[in-house]
Amino acid sequence: MIAPFVFSEHQIQLRQVSKNFGERRVLDEVNLTIPEGQFVAIVGRSGCGKSTLLRLIAGLEEASEGFIGLQFSDAQESRSHLRLMFQEARLLPWKGVLDNVLLGFRGLNVARYALEEVGLWDRRDEWPSRLSGGQKQRVALARALVHRPQLLLLDEPLGALDALTRLEMQQLIERLWQEHRFTVLLVTHDVSEAVALADRILVVEDGRIGLDLPVELPRPRQRTSSAVAELEDRVLRRIMDDQHPYAPESPQEVATPLPIYRIAV
């Protein structure tokens, strides 16, 4: 693959980044580097700090300690190379679909291309309130894409969608990522989504990155393949067991007779 831009390998760099909300420490000395073009999924229990990590990188929040560096092809206006998608589409309800895509952007042809890519050009004059949840998210995706971002930050954008629409959106995001080769940071609570899409999975637990797992499976990934299932199982186990991260699975524990538990309760 030929990189379209020439710059340092690391697009995102976090050094000893911490974030406190009042007394509570949400992120604790996180170190992280993400190279350009990588698709990174961030998973973890709710409240583990994964969304905060994303919001820090997006510049929506300030880090309490540490250093966050973002590098883009040109140094100016670096935040404009970064686009966000939220769990809600956050379309302006008083603007039509096309005008929403054109928010803070001039260029009808680019907007048209982006809307065609997400398959909604023929709904361009519709009010957002007339669209389904999946369609709204597709408009939000088009709105992010017209800016040709080098870094796309996705904060559980598919969390509120039904299962089928979610699969469709995952495929769309994967296709667009392969086409445009931006860096993606996807925060999700859906481990199968992370395994299906990401090059790398970060498990955040108690404000730290507990597991940094490369996913070297060929694309397109078969959700039913044993390699995918195995990986999914591993990540899930890690998240569920994060109170005892290094406790080995013991078959005896499973075989413990039930009455003992009954007494314990």
């Binding site: 939220f86 008083w94 309130s129």
Partner: protein, 271 residues
């Protein structure tokens, strides 16, 4: 197919008739009873002249040009007062809604003044401005200022914070943020304020014109009272009702025009 369509159409027209006609049934009945009572002399013309007499009085005044003159005088006061009070309310609402400092500085003072019934100021206003136009316009402006101020302030404060965050992350700030996000987001609330303010406009005008005026609908009514012309008094009351209704319709028209995007107005029919 044709045979089927016919009863269906008849049923539809009956339904339409009941939908549009039914709300008018009671007023028409009342009017009929009134007219009959008046024509048979059961009601004295001093108390309640017949509807036909009211219409006749209206026609007479219209032909002499007096009606137009009074209507215009009232409309002018209402419009000028509304524009002045409305603009001030809007500007103050923007200031307090957009800046925390502005809210801290002005909001509690405005809330205190708001609690004074503005009609209680009439003696003071007459002392300040005499009984000429300024006094009436001042009162109307005062009456319209607060509903618009309050609703603008709350409208801006209640714009979805997620949308503002999104717009900022897309590089919108200052005037662009206001124009594309804050103002349209506050508009439904502002229009509610406009509707309330229009109601206050007429209320204030009625009181102001009956106290001190040489023209306008209120003056028409007071003048008629002096000459025991109950028909003209009734006509004046009717005119106020019609003007109030017209203003309300205007506000609803603005809503339909500006809030097309709002799910609540996409299915609204004229009631």
């Amino acid at each position: 197919m044709k045979q089927q369509a016919r009863p269906n159409q008849a049923w539809l027209s009956l339904r339409q008739l009941s939908r549009w006609g039914l709300p008018w049934l009671v007023p028409i009945l009342l009017l009929a009873v009134w007219q009959i009572s008046a024509s048979f002399g059961w009601l004295s013309a001093r108390v309640l002249p017949a509807p036909t007499a009211v219409v006749a009085a209206g026609w007479e005044l219209f032909m002499s040009g007096e009606l137009g003159q009074h209507l215009w005088a009232s409309f002018e006061r209402a419009a000028i007062g509304f524009v002045i009070g409305g603009s001030l309310g809007l500007i103050l609402g923007f200031v307090t809604g957009l800046s925390r400092l502005g809210a801290q500085l002005l909001d509690s003072s405005l809330q205190m003044i708001r609690n004074v019934p503005h009609l209680a100021l009439i003696p003071l206003v007459i002392l300040w401005f005499g009984i000429d136009e300024t006094a009436k316009i001042f009162l109307v402006a005062l009456g319209t200022l607060f509903p618009i101020y309050l609703n603008t302030y709350h409208g801006i404060r209640n714009v979805d914070a997620g949308l503002i965050e999104m717009a900022r992350s897309y590089g919108l700030k200052g005037v662009a943020l206001f124009w594309h996000v804050l103002l349209p987001g506050a508009l439904p609330s502002i229009l509610v304020g406009v509707r309330f303010a229009l109601g206050f406009t007429w209320l204030t005008l009625i009181v102001a014109e009956t106290i001190a005026a040489t023209d306008g609908i209120g003056y028409l009514a007071m003048d008629a009272r002096e000459f025991l012309r109950t028909d003209v008094v009734l006509l004046a009351i009717l005119l106020y009702a019609l003007l109030g209704k017209a203003a309300d319709l205007g506000a609803r028209l603005l809503k339909r025009l500006w809030l097309q995007w709002h799910p609540a107005y996409q299915k609204e029919t004229w009631k």
